[in-house]
C-alpha cells in the first residue's frame, strides 16, 4: 500500500491510496457500517466491527482468519492526563500491523505503519492548546504519513481538522448525535425538533425527516459536502480562507487556528507552499497567517535594498495587484519618472496584512495575490505591525532620506507628502517637489538599477547565495520580466505566474549546491519521484526552484513539489517537476 500526495495547501494535502485495486482519495471519511447503522451509499471507506478481530482484554480470537484485511489493532488507551510512564507502558503493550498503528500523543513513538490512529483524540480536542501541541508532536514523529483522528470530526470542524494536518476522519460523532436528534448544517448543530424549515434540499429534507435513518442520512450528506468543499479548497489553495470562515462558528476552532499561528510558525512554514497563483483573501485573522508572515520575515531577513538607492519613498497599497498596474500607482510612477534621478528612489509599499513590499517584490506571492477590504481604516494592531516591520527594515537598509506618501503617520522621521488623499492634487504636488532632492545624488542608470533590482529579488528567493549567483551577470528585459545572462547564456528568468526566478540548466550550474536535491544515479526527465531522492537542502519549500545533483554532478533543474523533509521521507509521489536535465 502506498500514499501519493498530489496537491498541497496549508498544512495538508490531497492524495491517493490504493486499497485492493481501488484508488481512494485522501482526505476521506471512514463511514461506520453495520446492519443497524447503514453507511451512506457514497462511502469509499467503511469502518466496521470485525467480530473475529481480537479484543485487547479478550484475545480468544487472536490469530484466526479475519474477515477484513485492514484491522485497527486493539489497544489499551489511558487518558491523556495520566503520567507519561503509564502511556509508555500502554505503548509497549500496543500492537501494530503494516496498515495501522496507534500513536500515543503523550508518548509519541511511531512504529512502522501506514496509517497512524491518534489516541486520546476526543480528550485532546476539548482543549485547543493541548490538541494543537499533540498534533504537532505526532507529526514530528510520523512526518508525512497518514493520520486518522477518531471520533471528533463533524461537518463544522472537518476543514479545520484537515487544515491542522489530519487526513482521515470518521462518522462516529454523527452517529451519536443523530441518535440524539441533532441536525447538522455546515456551520452548526441544531435540535431537529426546533427546526421549522430545513435549510437543506437533500432528498431526506425534501421528503421530511421522520426517523433516525433519515436524520443520519441527511447528516451524512452534509458531512460529505463538507469533505468535498475541503478538497476543493485544497485544490484551489483556499483552505485557509475556508477555515477562517468556519472558525467564526465556534471559538474553540478559532483558538486552534490562532494557537497554530502564534506558537507553531516553524511547523507550518515548512508545509505551506511558497508560491501560488490564486487570490489570497485577507482578513484580520491573516496578520499572522503563515505565508504572509513568511513574506514579512524574508523581507527582513533575506532581502537587501538595491544598493544605489538613497531615497526611500513609502507608498500606500492599491486594491489592484501587482500595485504598479493600478491607477494610483501609475500616477505615482509618472511623477517618479519625471524626477531628476528616478533610479536613486526606492519605492516601498506599506500594506496590511503583509507589512512592507519593496517595489521589486510586488509580483511575488503573496504580495501580488492578496485581496483585502480597503476602507482606509487601520487597526492599531496593523499600525503596530507596519511600524515594527519598518523599524526592523530600516535597521538593516539605510537611506539618506525618507518620504512618507501615506495618509497615516508612521514612527519615523520622514518628509510627509500626503494631504487628505495620496492622489489628491496637493499630495501629488508635494510628492513631485519632495522628489526633487534626487538631483543631489549621482545619477543612477537604468541598467545598474535593473541589475540591483534583480539581485534584491534573488536575495529574497535564495538568500545570500544570490550575490554570488548574479556576480558578473547581465540583466535584460522590462520589469518584472527580467532575464539573467552570464557569458551570453541565460541563467534564469522571472516568472510572474510563479512569482520567482526560474532556472535554466546553466543557471543551476551557477547556483551550485544551493537549494539542492541529491538523487540516485539516473537522468531526471519529467519528474523525480520521492523514491529516487537521497537527500535535500532543508531550505526547500513547495514551489521552490531546485537544482538536482547526483554526487557532485548537476543532473537537472526543476520545481519542488514537496518540501525537503517530505522529499527525503516519502516513498511515493512527485517530488520535483524537472524543467531541464543533462
Amino acid at each position: 500500500m502506498k500514499f501519493e500526495a498530489t496537491k498541497r495547501d496549508c498544512n495538508t494535502r490531497i492524495g491517493y491510496i490504493e486499497i485492493e485495486g481501488k484508488e481512494i482519495r485522501i482526505p476521506n471519511i471512514l463511514w461506520y457500517s453495520s446492519p443497524r447503522i447503514p453507511p451512506p451509499p457514497f462511502a469509499d471507506l467503511k469502518l466496521a466491527e470485525d467480530i473475529k478481530a481480537q479484543d485487547f482484554f479478550y484475545k480468544d480470537y487472536e490469530e484466526k482468519e479475519n474477515k477484513y484485511k485492514q484491522i485497527i489493532p486493539a489497544s489499551l488507551i489511558y487518558p491523556y492526563f495520566f503520567p507519561e510512564e503509564i502511556h509508555q507502558k500502554a505503548f509497549e503493550m500496543s500492537k501494530s500491523n503494516e496498515i495501522f498503528s496507534i500513536i500515543f500523543p503523550k508518548f509519541p513513538v511511531a512504529k512502522k505503519s501506514f496509517i497512524y490512529v491518534m489516541a486520546n483524540a476526543q480528550e485532546l480536542f476539548t482543549n485547543p492548546r493541548e490538541f494543537v501541541s499533540a498534533i504537532v508532536k505526532i507529526r514530528e514523529k510520523i512526518g508525512y504519513k497518514l493520520l486518522y483522528a477518531p471520533g471528533i470530526a463533524n461537518p463544522v470542524n472537518l476543514p479545520i481538522l484537515s487544515y491542522v494536518g489530519i487526513d482521515l476522519f470518521d462518522s462516529l460523532d454523527i452517529v451519536i448525535k443523530s441518535r440524539r436528534g441533532i441536525y447538522f448544517t455546515s456551520t452548526g448543530e441544531y435540535n431537529l425538533e426546533e427546526i421549522e424549515e430545513y435549510p437543506c434540499s437533500c432528498s431526506f429534507c425534501k421528503k421530511g425527516i421522520e426517523n433516525f435513518n433519515d436524520l443520519l442520512m441527511h447528516n451524512y450528506e452534509i458531512m460529505k459536502n463538507e469533505l468535498i468543499r475541503t478538497i476543493r479548497a485544497i485544490e484551489n489553495r483556499e483552505l485557509r480562507e475556508l477555515v477562517e470562515s468556519k472558525s467564526h462558528f465556534n471559538p474553540k476552532y478559532a483558538s486552534i487556528i490562532r494557537i497554530l499561528d502564534m506558537e507553531y510558525y516553524n511547523y507550518q512554514e515548512k508545509r505551506f507552499p511558497l508560491t501560488g497563483n490564486k487570490k489570497l483573501i485577507a482578513s484580520p485573522y491573516s496578520l499572522y497567517r503563515v505565508d504572509i508572515r513568511r513574506f514579512r520575515e524574508r523581507v527582513i531577513e533575506r532581502y537587501e535594498k538595491p544598493e544605489s538607492t538613497k531615497i526611500l519613498l513609502l507608498l500606500p497599497c492599491s486594491a489592484k495587484k501587482p500595485y504598479s498596474t493600478s491607477k494610483s500607482h501609475k500616477i505615482f510612477n509618472s511623477i517618479i519618472a519625471n524626477s531628476p534621478n528616478r533610479y536613486v528612489i526606492h519605492e516601498v509599499i506599506i500594506t496590511s496584512p503583509i507589512g512592507i513590499v519593496p517595489r521589486e517584490l510586488e509580483c511575488i506571492y503573496p504580495a501580488a495575490h492578496y485581496d483585502i477590504s480597503v476602507t482606509g481604516y487601520w487597526d492599531k494592531e496593523e499600525i503596530y505591525m507596519v511600524n515594527e516591520c519598518l523599524k526592523r527594515y530600516l535597521d538593516k537598509n539605510k537611506y539618506d532620506a525618507i518620504i512618507n506618501h501615506l495618509p497615516i503617520p508612521l514612527d519615523i522621521d520622514a518628509i510627509e507628502t500626503c494631504k487628505e488623499h495620496p492622489t489628491s492634487g496637493d499630495s501629488l504636488k508635494n510628492l513631485a517637489k519632495a522628489l526633487e532632492i534626487s538631483e543631489n545624488y549621482e545619477n543612477v542608470t537604468h541598467t545598474k538599477r535593473r541589475y540591483e533590482n534583480a539581485k534584491s529579488m534573488l536575495l529574497y528567493q535564495f538568500g545570500q547565495i544570490a550575490k554570488k549567483f548574479i556576480e558578473g551577470c547581465e540583466v535584460k528585459g522590462k520589469f518584472p520580466d527580467y532575464k539573467i545572462y552570464y557569458e551570453d547564456k541565460q541563467l534564469a528568468m522571472f516568472s510572474q505566474k510563479r512569482g520567482l526566478f526560474i532556472l535554466t540548466f546553466a543557471g543551476g550550474r551557477k547556483l551550485g549546491k544551493n537549494y539542492w536535491v541529491e538523487i540516485d544515479d539516473f537522468i531526471p526527465k519529467g519528474s523525480v519521484f520521492a523514491m529516487g531522492i537521497k537527500n535535500a537542502d532543508e531550505r526547500i519549500r513547495i514551489g521552490d526552484e531546485v537544482v538536482i545533483f547526483h554526487d557532485e554532478e548537476l543532473r537537472g533543474v526543476g520545481t519542488a513539489k514537496m518540501n525537503a523533509e517530505e522529499m527525503v521521507e516519502a516513498d511515493a509521489g512527485e517530488a520535483i517537476k524537472v524543467r531541464h536535465y543533462k
Partner: protein, 322 residues
C-alpha cells in the same frame, strides 16, 4: 503495573476522620427467604492495599482512621446496643475484616460471640483467609472482591494488587473452611468499553461459578477523590448503562445456578449506573426485584427508546478510543 500503582497512590486525598460506626438495616436473602439484616460499618485503619496504592475506583479509603484496640471495641459495643436480633449481620470495614492489622484477632471473635446472628457476612481480600480457622462455630459468608477474573483487567484497569490465581487460592480456602463464598464482580472497570464490560463480567462468572454461593455485581459508581472520578469529570468515563447491568444479569442467570445479586449504588444518578433518565427508576426496580426473587422475568419487562443509543455505543465505542 508499578507506574499505575504509583499514580493511584499519588492521587489520594484523605479527609476529616469519622470515628463513629455506621449502622443500618436492610432486607436480604437467607436460604431462599427474605429476612432482616443488620449492617455495621466499623471504622478501622481500612484496606492495607488502599494505603499502599489502591484500586482506581475505590474511595472507601476516606472512611477510615487509625483505630486502636479500644476504639474498635467501643464501636462494637455501640453497635450492639442497636442490634435487634436480625438474622443476618453484615460487617464491613472499608477493608478486610480478617486483617488483624485492622481488627485484632480477639476482637474479631468478640464480635461473633456478641451478636446472636444466624449468619454473618464479612469482607476480605484473599491474603487473610487463613484467619477463618478461628471461627469454626459460626455461619459466615465471606465476601471477596474479585472484580474481574481477567489478569490484564486486574492489573491495568483496576490496580487490584493481586492476580486471579492468588484470589482463587483464597476463595478455595474459604470453601475448605466450610464457609460460604460471595464474589463481588465489578461492572465496567475503567478503560473498558460497555461491550468489553459485558464480556468481562461473563468471562469472570464462568471462571468462578463453581466456587461462589453468591455473585454480587457492583456497577461502578463514582467515588470522590479517586482516579475514576478524575476521568469521569473529564467525561472520559461513564458508569455502565443500566442496560449493560440488565444484560449481564440475564446472561449470568443462564449460566450460573447460585444467588445473583446486584445493588446499584447511586443508580440513576450521573455518578452511578444510569440510562437516559426517563426509564432509570423502572429499570432499577427490576434489578432490585430480581436480586430479591432471582426471577429473570423481572428483567424482561423493561424497555425504553434509549436502548437504541446503548446499542449504538456497544457497536462504536471501541472505535471512539482509537
Amino acid at each position: 503495573m508499578k507506574e499505575l500503582e504509583k499514580f493511584a497512590k499519588e492521587k489520594k486525598e484523605y479527609r476529616k476522620k469519622v470515628k463513629k460506626p455506621r449502622i443500618w438495616r436492610e432486607k436480604d436473602l437467607l436460604d431462599g427467604k427474605v429476612v432482616n439484616a443488620f449492617v455495621l460499618i466499623l471504622r478501622t485503619k481500612g484496606c492495607y492495599w488502599a494505603k499502599k496504592s489502591g484500586c482506581l475506583m475505590c474511595g472507601y479509603y476516606k472512611e477510615t482512621y487509625d483505630a486502636e484496640y479500644e476504639d474498635i471495641k467501643r464501636q462494637i459495643d455501640m453497635a450492639y446496643k442497636e442490634y435487634k436480633n436480625e438474622e443476618i449481620v453484615k460487617i464491613f470495614t472499608s477493608g478486610s475484616f480478617l486483617d488483624e492489622q485492622e481488627i485484632p484477632k480477639d476482637l474479631q471473635l468478640y464480635l461473633f460471640k456478641k451478636f446472636k446472628a444466624k449468619k454473618f457476612i464479612i469482607e476480605s481480600r484473599p491474603e487473610f483467609i487463613d484467619n477463618l480457622e478461628n471461627f469454626k462455630d459460626y455461619r459466615i459468608e465471606v465476601a471477596m472482591g474479585l472484580e474481574s477474573a481477567n489478569d490484564v483487567v486486574l492489573e491495568y484497569c483496576i490496580n487490584k494488587g493481586f492476580k486471579f490465581n492468588d484470589w482463587k487460592k483464597g476463595a478455595e480456602k474459604v470453601i475448605s473452611f466450610g464457609k460460604e463464598l460471595k464474589v463481588y464482580l465489578l461492572i465496567k472497570p475503567p478503560f473498558l468499553t460497555e461491550k468489553q464490560a459485558i464480556m468481562d463480567a461473563l468471562y469472570s462468572v464462568e471462571k468462578i461459578k463453581d466456587l461462589a454461593n453468591t455473585i454480587s455485581f457492583n456497577p461502578v459508581s463514582i467515588h470522590s477523590k479517586t482516579v475514576v472520578e478524575m476521568m469521569w469529570r473529564k467525561k472520559l468515563y461513564r458508569p455502565p448503562w443500566l442496560w449493560t447491568v440488565i444484560d449481564i444479569l440475564k446472561k449470568t442467570k443462564e449460566i450460573y445456578n447460585g444467588v445473583i445479586k446486584c445493588d446499584v449504588v447511586a443508580g440513576g444518578k450521573e455518578r452511578g449506573s444510569h440510562n437516559c433518565g426517563k426509564c432509570d427508576k423502572k429499570v432499577l426496580n427490576a434489578i432490585k426485584e430480581f436480586s430479591l426473587t432471582q426471577d429473570e422475568k423481572k428483567l424482561e419487562k423493561v424497555d425504553c427508546e434509549c436502548k437504541e443509543e446503548w446499542l449504538d455505543i456497544l457497536e462504536i465505542e471501541r472505535f471512539l478510543k482509537g
